[in-house]
């Protein structure tokens, strides 16, 4: 059985987001909140302690009228592989509770809520602000408990949570594949909620190692970049933009520095 198991290909799930297609509508954020039982407050106007696994940032080029330009940038967890793909992403390295882990089989950074004790080292370590702390127990409006997804466990006060690339969908897809006697799943069987919700088709998701998946070619584009690449966190979320100022906004370049 050991040999059988190792036959399964090593995967590296990742995302390619075309920023020139993104309109900033926020459908991905809504889909993510609903899919993953993300808690919200009665008054969401104070954004500092809001929880948004996927968040859209608005970038501007800072130029006056004729040249003014904006860009919306959706930011899920980047699922950093760390330098040399060893899985030592910033958050995994600092976690004292083994609550966050990197799987070499899927490349997904996991967060085990029942294991986390809320020290928030990972939040400090994450350069992408992808991690959020539960300051309160979730309060669902009357009757909303019935709309929660049973596939994602609900978090409690005092722990950190973040985007999981909808890992539960991968689990369910594998369940089906095994039942049907297949070992591998198809590309369309495991897609994240945000990918499916995007009306512009800006988000592509799949196995970065698999040449049959759309992301494999997309990530090779000359317009592709990753956020804060020079930190060598080796993220698995790629962005594509034909606009040079957007690509430059992906890292802290000096004004006269050549990329």
């Amino acid at each position: 059985m050991k040999e059988e198991q190792s036959k399964e290909k090593v995967k590296k799930f990742g995302m390619v987001i075309d920023l020139d297609k993104c309109t900033g509508c926020g459908a991905c954020m809504v889909a993510c909140m609903a899919e993953n039982n993300v808690p919200f407050k009665e008054d969401e106007s104070k954004k500092l302690d809001s929880i948004t696994w996927l968040r859209i940032y608005k970038l501007t080029n800072g130029k006056p009228f004729p040249d003014a330009d904006i860009c919306y940038l959706p930011r899920p967890c980047q699922h950093c592989g760390g330098k040399g793909e060893h899985g030592h992403s910033p958050c995994v390295s600092v976690c004292p509770a083994t609550a966050t882990d990197y799987s070499k089989e899927t490349g997904i950074v996991s967060q085990i809520y029942t294991r986390c004790f809320g020290c928030r080292y990972c939040m400090a370590a994450c350069p992408y602000h992808a991690r959020y702390f539960n300051w309160w127990d979730p309060v669902w409006p009357d009757g909303m408990e019935k709309y929660l997804s049973p596939n994602v466990s609900v978090r409690m006060r005092g722990i950190v949570e973040k985007c999981s690339f909808c890992f539960h969908r991968y689990q369910l897809a594998k369940d089906k594949a095994y039942f049907e006697g297949r070992r591998e799943i198809e590309e369309n069987e495991y897609q994240t909620a945000c990918t499916q919700a995007c009306p512009a088709g800006a988000i592509a998701f799949g196995d970065l190692n698999n040449p049959k998946h759309a992301v494999y070619e997309l990530k090779k584009s000359s317009n592709a970049f990753r956020l804060l690449e020079r930190l060598q966190t080796n993220p698995k979320v790629y962005y594509i933009s034909g606009r040079e100022w957007v690509r430059r906004a992906g890292d802290n370049y000096l004004k006269d520095e050549k990329k």
Partner: protein, 237 residues
Amino acid sequence: MSTPDDKTKGVSADTGGEDAIASFKGVDEKEQGEGPGGFVILFFIIGFVASLIIGWVVFPKLLYSQKRQPVDFNHALHVETVDNGCESCHIFREDGSYAGVPKLAQCADCHQEVQGESPEEKIFVEEYVAKEKEVPWLVYSKQPDCVFFSHSVHVKLAGMDCVTCHGPIGESTSLKPYEENRLTGYSRDIWGKSMAGIKKNSWDRMKMDDCAECHEKETGRKSSVQTDKDACFVCHK
């Protein structure tokens, strides 16, 4: 002011004075001197035994409340009449998920009317089938919310037997009482019958360590960066 030193000197001087009886008295004094010490040890032993009894016998009894299943189901009788073993009633859905305990409709296929002599069947038909009410079965193997367990991969891919985790339930003629942990609300089958955690059969416990132990042995995967074992997201959600 007399210091402790003075006192001991005084005592030794006294005993020194009465040489003749000293040997007899010495024995007496020894017994008197050890008396309180003996009591301390005796009380310690009594207390120790009492706390062991409380910890190993009384506390577990208090910790778990016992509940009877709504209908006392006879597995052995049903396994005899069906063709496909456990999977005749405990089915997989088409999407690969596992249905677990059968729904009323499945049972009602055969049990529209009372078929046998069993008083339990009569209760089942009259209370549930006739009233079209689902039976509130208590599930012994119910895992916490954060656990993702796939029957599909264990049964279909790895070809594991139901007995490996669930024990010889198919041979039982009645359902054992459901013991619920008053603090956590989980079934005693998760911790196991033995409070000391002694495991004789593979189905005696269903804690995370038991899953991890088998995963380490059977899959040999080392995909987790943190633990160098199977990754957390394999069973967690």
